[in-house]
Amino acid sequence: MLYSLCFLFFMIGLYCAVVKKNMVKIVIGIMIMEYAVNLFLIMLGYRLGGAAPIIDRSQVDLETGQIAASFLSSCVDPLPQALVLTSIVISLGSLALMISICVRTYGKYGTFDITEIRRLKG
């Protein structure tokens, strides 16, 4: 059910990116899609009543390097978190580039309306 809601979230972003004609709105739509994927990835790794994947001193025997069994059986999946960290930064980068293009286009055309920004045919 949560997964489906997450997919609905993704689709709202897609709708916004495809249908809206304001450039900033389109950017917002793409941001929403990226949020949805990030959220979905983290949900995939969640364990009910789980623990964050950070070991503290009480959970590890520093002499032998043994990690407490309770931690092993309750830790959430660290891999999707690493992926999402990467993908958040990627989306920040593409946001910066996209907004620069929007700002520069605004400087040229004087509008954010893509139906008026139509020099190219087709």
Binding site: I30, I90, L97, M98, I101, I114, L120
Partner: protein, 505 residues
């Protein structure tokens, strides 16, 4: 050789990081450095021929770490990327003098090369996504490099569709991870083979096809290409049409479909449908164009259709359990056309850049009679046009011939007819280019046009020689067995990929 694999990414990356440090004064040094980097990439790519192997980054065994995989298909793409990028870089040395911020331009171009090399070498699906994003972001910025009205508009359009494609791909990666618990392509493939396809994986596959199809500009997803490719500076158009859509689109598509998910009849038909649609619609839209670069861009769509058609026929025959030799031949035709297209289309875009630089326009109706004033450009353009139209003995002819033979042999007579028809229309539209650009009356305002000089001619001449000689790749058995056939084997072996990669680690 395998130990040097990360250098394919490291060299362009480090060069790209260093280049912005050169200010305005160091422009010459920056150009030299960038050219040295691309030429060293060619020098690295050539010894890769015939090798295959797996490189473990950080010495972590897979699936813990990330691996780089070199096999026939990646080697083929590496060769194409390094050759075309060396030519484009050489061409830029003089062509880009018209623009400001040259060192940043060179840096972006290096980043694009690094991204493409990363994509073709990666053995990890998420890592593939990351490098795909590097190459895509660099290309969005490069399309808008001129900062004129049309360029910014094209760049925005391209960026929106590209970002949607990226989101699709990332969602598909998430679905695959959720279903198999692995990100390494070999392990994903192993998990799929043991548990079989389910709805989730099928949906992920269709998202992959949509996402990579958008990056490859196959026909229902082609809207951005005719705007983006003409708007970029000429060497970038050459890179985009020549290798970017192949490395990010077709290569990634083939890798995921053939080696990770495994072929099926449905996927084969989808490929064939995409291919035929791209071929036919692309070429008929191209004939009506009067803008030189826009015409070439529509032909890119059409020619990519050939590649996808060949690969799709192979997939269909393999999935049906038909005769393996026709499947191999169809895939051979597709992949051979991929490299050929990389060479002749980048050459065509470079000649269009040469024409545009000399005359200041690229409208066919304003041009004419350039044959007398620009003989070398004219000669290279004629060679490339003959190649793309499939005139013997140039390289385009051989790949189209192989495709037609494979289609007839496997019993797809309709597809063979479509291939020939599209080839004919291509010939007509390139006769149109020759007629309007190089023949006829030289207009008054173009009387003082001069031939391009120096590195631009070297780059064009180099690619033109390749166009003439590349038929040998097919005709000389030793070359065929060391370059083309290993690439075909990667695809025909299909999901055996995973066992091979896991064994080699």
């Amino acid at each position: 050789m395998i130990g040097l694999l990360p250098a394919f990414v490291a060299i362009p990356l480090v060069t790209a990081f260093v280049l912005p440090l050169f200010g305005k004064k160091g422009k010459g040094a920056a150009t030299v450095l960038a050219n040295v980097a691309t030429i060293s990439l060619v020098a690295l790519a050539v010894p890769c021929i015939g090798h295959r192997g797996v490189y473990l980054l950080g010495k972590w065994s897979i699936p813990l770490g990330i691996n780089l995989v070199l096999d026939g298909l990646s080697c083929l793409l590496l060769l194409a990327i390094s050759v075309v990028s060396a030519a484009a870089m050489l061409f830029s040395a003089r062509y880009m003098e018209r623009y400001t911020a040259k060192s940043r331009y060179l840096s972006l171009l290096m980043l694009m090369i690094a991204g493409m090399n990363g994509v073709v070498l990666s053995g990890d699906i998420f890592n593939l996504f990351v490098f795909l994003e590097i190459a895509s972001l660099a290309s969005y910025a490069l399309v808008g490099f001129g900062c004129e009205h049309e360029e910014l508009e094209a760049s925005f359009k391209y960026m929106v569709l590209g970002s949607i494609a990226s989101a699709f791909i990332l969602f598909a990666v998430a679905l695959v991870y959720g279903n198999t618990g692995s990100l390494n392509m070999a392990y994903i493939s192993k998990a799929i083979q043991s548990s079989g396809m389910n709805n989730g994986l099928a949906f992920a596959l269709s998202l992959f096809i949509a996402g990579f199809g958008l990056k490859a500009a196959l026909v229902p997803f082609h809207a951005w290409l005719p705007d983006a490719h003409p708007s970029a500076p000429a060497p970038i158009s050459a890179m985009l049409s020549g290798v970017l859509i192949k490395a990010l689109g077709v290569y990634a598509l083939c890798r995921t479909v053939f080696n990770v998910f495994g072929v099926s009849v449905a996927v084969g038909w989808v490929f064939i449908a995409l291919g035929v649609l791209s071929m036919v619609i692309g070429v008929f839209l191209a004939v009506g164009q009067w803008d030189l670069k826009r015409l070439l861009a529509y032909h890119s769509i059409s020619q990519m259709g050939y590649v996808v058609l060949g690969v799709g026929m192979g997939a269909l025959i393999l999935a049906r359990g038909g005769e393996a030799k026709w499947a191999a031949l169809a895939i051979l035709g597709g992949l051979f056309h991929l490299v050929n297209h990389a060479v002749f289309k980048s050459l065509l875009f470079l000649t269009s850049g040469s024409v545009e630089m000399a005359t200041g326009t690229r409208q066919l109706k304003e041009l004419g009679g350039l044959a007398t004033v620009m003989p070398i450009t004219r000669a290279t353009c004629a060679i490339a046009s003959a190649s793309i139209a499939g005139v013997p003995p140039f390289n385009g002819f051989w790949s189209k011939l192989v495709l037609v033979i494979a289609a007839v042999g496997a019993g797809f007579y309709g597809l063979a007819a479509v291939t020939l028809l599209v080839s004919l229309v291509t010939l007509i539209s390139f006769l149109k280019i020759q007629r309007y650009v190089f023949l006829g009356e030289l207009p008054q305002n173009l009387q003082h046009t001069q031939e391009s000089k120096g590195p631009m001619l070297v780059a064009m001449g180099f690619l033109a020689c390749l166009c003439v000689l590349m038929g040998l790749l097919l005709l000389v058995p030793a070359l065929r067995q060391s370059i083309l056939e290993p690439a075909v084997d990667v695809l025909t072996e299909g999901v055996k990929y995973s066992a091979a990669v896991i064994k080699e680690t």
